[in-house]
Amino acid sequence: MTRRIISFLPLLVVAVLLGFFVVGLQMDPRRLPSALLHQPLPAFALDGLPGRAPPLTDSAQLTGQVALVNFFGSWCAACIQEHPMLNRIQAEGVAPLHGIAFQDKPQATLRFLARHGDPYDRVGYDTTNRIAIEFGVTGAPETFVIDKAGVIRHKHVGPITEDDWVDTLRPMIEDLQDG
């Protein structure tokens, strides 16, 4: 009898495992929860990039209309990959797109923008990386959607792909603009 029971054990184990896979498939492991979601964006003061106007110097500049804030750096390979998409987002002109460069040197950032195109409305330069920490940035690139009241509505981790833009971000921005 024990033999019978023991031989059923493997079946039981795989059944439990399969249950987890079914649940697991419905989740996106790359989606990291942000503690700041649905919170007002942290107040900050930033420097602009020398020789590039207009600068993003104050968190107040982000309120009043739905906006995208993209954290990037010239050192980040995924940002290079993402850049053509950002250029396209700017060309579509759905909402202002602001950039915050972090862990970077201003000269390097400027060269990066000169080489790959400059899709940003305002660019801030996070000298101390404090702002990136306050936004809870875990890597680059990361993009935040901020509503009219200055509340963070969405955080996108990693390069924005065409599908992300068309299926998620753009509809969300349009909803926020209507609402």
Partner: protein
């Protein structure tokens, strides 16, 4: 036109696979030989159909037919021919096509070489094999059609991920797949045996070579992948416990256990139920590996192509396979009769313990790999499990196993003499102690190095004990050298296979331990003319220049490796490449090897702020890494040597039977018992 022929061939293959899955199975149940024999022509037809499909896709890649979506997404006219061809399996759809091609070729091998198998067992095994093929064909046709067209055809393709444009990686996926798919044979035989309700030594003798082939390919495949990561990714490491690496390592561990328990099943006619279970588990883990890599349930730096719809389909395949096979096991296994008994201290005993340790290791790695998924599903938060977990749980499991590996082969079957084995191993024991002490003193004698010295000792123990075991077999120094030589030439290949593979394991262990303990790494900004020490040598930075490549633009550094007296040992030229399609940067490390140690240099970005011509450079001193590659190579070779053993060779039993004539039917039945 050609892609449509390929597509059509796949649909045809599905029909053939269904026939092969159903007809021989019914035939075997009813004892109808004609129905059973359908499996053989069907397996030929299946290989032809899938072969045509594979050839059609390869053709589309070779001629760069961008009207095929798959080619457009993964190829480019500028790509060298080798990578156009390797691009066929460098993507999801093509790799699945390769998967089923290999699956079909294995089936064909069974129907061609399986002439001396009992017809019912062969028919059932081939039918199970065809069921797996059917599942994957459905998967390809419904979710991953490699022949989908694009209209209008784009002018040029998007290119293959440049990280994958590498000779090491061109052959890594096919090797892994040969391993994964190879385990399907053991699985099919296990299911066939469960349906028949009997397992005997002949069954185990059939399963062993197939498991061995799969294991050899998987070993080479994992080693190739590790080697690729080492020289291509530019991190100076060879193993990261990344989910995708684990996905191939988990079945490898289970497969290694299967390999050894099949020996017991064959030689001693025991551990049969366990061997069957392992065969099912190993293949299920191979499927799981495919699921993890292809579905994206777990994030990985390797997740090149993930798609949830495909995930659902693979999960379904996995579920049908494992629920079906484990239910069958639960139903049938209790009826299986146990074979010979054995004492705890015996060859069987150590092999069983080896099995327990390997299976535990496999389960542990699986747990670590899936833990983020469990935690996420149970709302315990987002976690990632990294090398510290794996190192701290895996190593303690491996140490007793490695020590045991030295003793096990010295023990007799059924009842071993532990004291006698230790007495015969005393030379190895003394030499191991000397190695531990010597390493410790050479490394500086500090407490920190004691662990490393003991680790090297474990590797040395296995190496020495394996050598002693071989010396014992040929009675080296006990009988005249000529007699030893005669004994050495008469040893079966399988014995040599074990010796070579275990020596390989020992080298691998020493490579890992030595590298972990004494590796060093420096990152700095260097101006031309500057020198930085690396291990016992030093590197002089002589500058860097732009170098255009066929489909990339590179910065190539020039570094001179010098010894203590300033003599040049080698010129090293690491590169940083910016590929054009797709736009992506890669590092090409420069590695100078002495055969025991590696000097490893990576060039980073220019740093004009620190002076003209200044660059960021990273140097790694990688002691003992080459031992890893020798070790893995020897392990695989050991498997091949064992595979060439007389017992496994095709037709041997039949020839033996013919030569001995009708008088020695006893000998013939031990080779291929006629049960049908």
């Amino acid at each position: 036109m050609i892609p449509e022929i390929g597509h059509f061939a796949l649909v045809l293959a599905l029909g053939v696979a269904v026939v092969q899955a159903v007809v021989p199975m019914i035939g075997a149940q009813r004892g109808n030989l004609a129905w059973m024999e359908v499996a053989r022509p069907a397996s030929v037809a299946l290989v032809l159909c899938i072969g045509v499909a594979f050839a059609a896709l390869t053709h589309s890649y070779v001629v760069s037919d961008f009207s095929v979506t798959n080619v457009f997404m993964n190829s480019h006219t500028d790509k060298p021919m080798l990578y156009k061809i390797s691009g066929v399996w460098g993507n999801h759809e093509g790799s699945l096509l390769l998967w089923i091609l290999i699956l079909a070729v294995f089936s064909l091998a069974v129907s061609v070489f399986g002439g001396n198998l009992p017809p019912a067992l062969r028919a059932r095994a081939l039918a199970v094999q065809a069921m797996i093929t059917t599942g994957f064909l459905l998967f390809i046709l419904f979710t991953s059609n490699p022949f989908a067209r694009l209209d209008p055809a784009p002018f040029d393709g998007r290119g293959l991920n440049p990280l994958l444009q590498d000779p090491g990686l061109a052959f890594h996926p096919p090797m892994l797949y040969l391993g994964y798919v190879g385990f399907s044979m053991a699985f099919s035989f296990a299911i066939a045996a469960l349906i028949e309700g009997r397992v005997d030594a002949a069954w185990a003798r059939w399963v062993r070579p197939w498991t061995l082939i799969a294991w050899v390919f998987l070993t080479f495949g994992i080693a190739l992948g590790s080697w690729w990561a080492y020289y291509e990714l530019g991190w100076g490491g060879y193993w990261y416990w990344d989910p995708v690496e684990n996905a191939s390592f988990i079945p490898w561990l289970a497969g290694t256990a299967l390999l050894h328990s099949a020996i017991v099943a064959e030689k001693r006619d025991t551990l049969k139920s366990w061997t069957i279970l392992l065969a099912i588990i190993t293949f299920s883990l191979s499927l799981l590996g495919t699921f993890l890599v292809r579905s994206g349930v777990i994030t990985s730096v390797h997740a090149f192509a993930t798609d949830p719809t495909r995930g659902v389909f693979i999960l379904l395949l996995l579920a049908i396979t494992v629920v079906g096979s484990f239910s069958l096991y639960a139903w049938r296994a209790p009826q299986m009769k146990g074979g010979g008994v054995f004492a705890p201290v015996s060859r069987e005993g150590t092999l069983l313990l080896n099995n327990v340790l390997l299976s535990t290791a496999s389960a542990t790695v699986l747990l670590g790999t899936l833990y983020p998924l469990f935690a996420d599903a149970l709302q315990l938060g987002k976690v990632s499990v990294g090398p510290p977990f794996f190192n701290s749980v895996f190593v303690p499991l491996m140490i007793p196993m490695l020590i045991l590996m030295g003793v096990g082969p010295m023990l007799a079957w059924k009842r071993g003499d532990a004291l006698g084995a230790v007495r015969r191993l005393w030379t190895a024991l003394v030499a191991t102690a000397a190695v531990v002490l010597g390493t410790w003193v050479l490394a500086g004698g500090s407490v920190v190095n004691a662990g490393a010295a003991l680790g090297m000792g474990v590797g040395a123990w296995l190496l020495l004990a394996t050598m002693v075991e071989w010396a014992e077999r040929v009675r080296l120094f006990r009988v005249p050298p000529r007699d030893s030589l005669r004994r050495a030439t008469n040893l079966p290949r399988s014995a040599y296979g074990m010796t070579v593979a275990h020596v390989g394991t020992a080298l691998l262990v020493m490579g890992v331990v030595g590298n972990t303990a004494w590796k060093s790494e420096t990152v700095q900004v260097m101006r031309p003319g500057e020198t930085i020490p690396i291990g016992p040598r030093a590197l002089v930075f002589e500058g860097a220049e732009r170098m255009p490549g066929p489909n990339y633009d590179a910065i190539r550094g020039r570094l001179r490796l010098i010894d203590g007296d300033g003599h040049t040992i080698a010129i090293m030229s690491p590169e940083k490449r910016q590929y054009t399609s797709p736009p992506m940067a890669t590092t090409e490390a420069a590695i100078h090897t002495t055969g025991v140690h590696d000097y490893y240099a990576v060039i980073g970005d220019p740093s004009p702020g620190d002076g003209a011509g200044a660059f960021v450079t990273r140097f790694y001193y990688e002691p003992f890494v080459p031992l890893l590659w020798y070790g893995a190579l020897l392990m695989g070779l050991g498997g091949l040597v064992s595979l060439s053993d007389r017992r496994h060779r095709v037709g041997v039993p039949r020839r033996a039977r013919a030569a001995q004539g009708a008088s020695s039917t006893a000998a013939a039945t031990t080779e291929a018992p006629a049960r049908a």
